[in-house]
Point group: C2
Chain length 230, copies 2
């Protein structure tokens, strides 16, 4: 199946460009992880010599920045709809970002290291801040609320990606099951809650449902209970 030489045939001249490099970079990151994302592996996947990539990007950092902004631009922002309550629209906006970060866990590492610079990430911030204002928050409260929501989203996605990485490293068994058995095996007299709640803690490692649970609590605390006082 694979090339005996483990080196694919060289692509003809002039076929390399920034888009092809970025597409291969996303593939490589998502498939092999950040550690395996090397300039040599990237070039090999593209069928060119290692240094060919440097004709289109200054170096690895510029590729990483471009990948981050490219993927953030792919967030499917729900259509603005003034009739819906801002709470609900904000929730969907956040879910879209979380979904992106979950589907491309490697971006997380990149997002965590350097902030988004691209225009599309900026548009997301604009939308979110507008919804927070519409929900009745003043300037400082909206800024703090936006920051808190982003902090939680990044943290939740990172938490999930961490579980996946452990699974990939340790023979592909369920990370939730590993967590459960680790907690369940602790001495119950010293850790009564932890041992008792091991199954529930494992159940909370389920990605989107857990994210929604925390997000709803956070938004309720930030905006007030939407079903409560009215």
């Amino acid at each position: 199946m694979t090339d005996r030489s483990s080196r694919r045939p060289r692509a003809p001249r002039g076929t390399l460009n920034r888009d092809r490099v970025l597409a291969a970079a996303v593939d490589l990151l998502d498939h092999a992880g950040p550690d395996a994302f090397t300039m040599r592996a990237l070039a090999q996947r593209l069928g060119v010599g290692t240094m060919a990539v440097y004709s289109h990007f200054q170096g690895k950092d510029e590729i990483i920045d471009a990948v981050r902004d490219l993927l953030f631009a792919e967030v499917e922002l729900p259509p603005a709809d003034a009739r819906r309550p801002p709470h609900a629209e904000l929730r969907e906006l956040c879910r879209a970002v979380y979904r992106l970060l979950s589907e491309h866990p490697s971006v997380l590492h990149l997002l965590a290291t350097r902030p988004v610079q691209g225009d599309e990430g900026t548009l997301f911030a604009e939308r979110a801040l507008g919804l927070l204002r519409r929900a009745g928050l003043d300037g400082p409260a909206a800024a703090r609320a936006y920051t808190a929501v982003m902090q939680y989203t990044v943290g939740a996605a990172l938490w999930t990606a961490r579980g996946r990485k452990v699974r990939a490293a340790q023979g592909c068994d369920d990370p939730a099951e590993r967590l459960r058995s680790r907690f369940a095996g602790l001495p119950p007299d010293r850790y009564p809650c932890l041992t008792g709640l091991a199954p529930q803690l494992a159940a909370a490692q389920d990605g989107m449902p857990q994210y929604e649970h925390g997000l709803d609590a956070l938004l309720t605390g930030l905006l007030g209970d939407p079903d409560g006082r009215g």
Copy 2:
């Protein structure tokens, strides 16, 4: 001032041990950052040959795990006090973890990659879960609430560390000011909220106050308003 040879004198035999390696590792990580944390730099700081460290640790990963657990063990857990409302005690517990992560931003990178294995991190989880149960949450709700709080704490600390890293890289100017001027310079017709709220967004990059703002909102959403219905 510095050694002309840029190589410090070798330590006498038998003075190296796990504790000295870990202390040097924490120093190196906090002072020089994760990228500069190499086995060669660590050994040089200890005044031994590179391979001497391998007599005490299997490799770099084992050192990283040990550093993470060591620092997590240093979290100053507030004394348990059944008279205080669980909401307040949980808040202090979380603040202690956030403070640790902020003071040792390099640990974050490590915490984000692999979960805490050490006993002390486990003790923190036990305390937090106990408080959530005391606050009236049932098993599944307590597990989800604990996970959400940890996710938010990691995300918030990472957010702060990211700002610091940018500052260190880009000539030491204030990261909040950089963020403010970037947002303030956007076209106001396309980004009315972002340009208008640039100062408030910059003000929200203040670490602990922002963390507390989000944490209180999250706890309120998870536990119910402590001052509200009673």
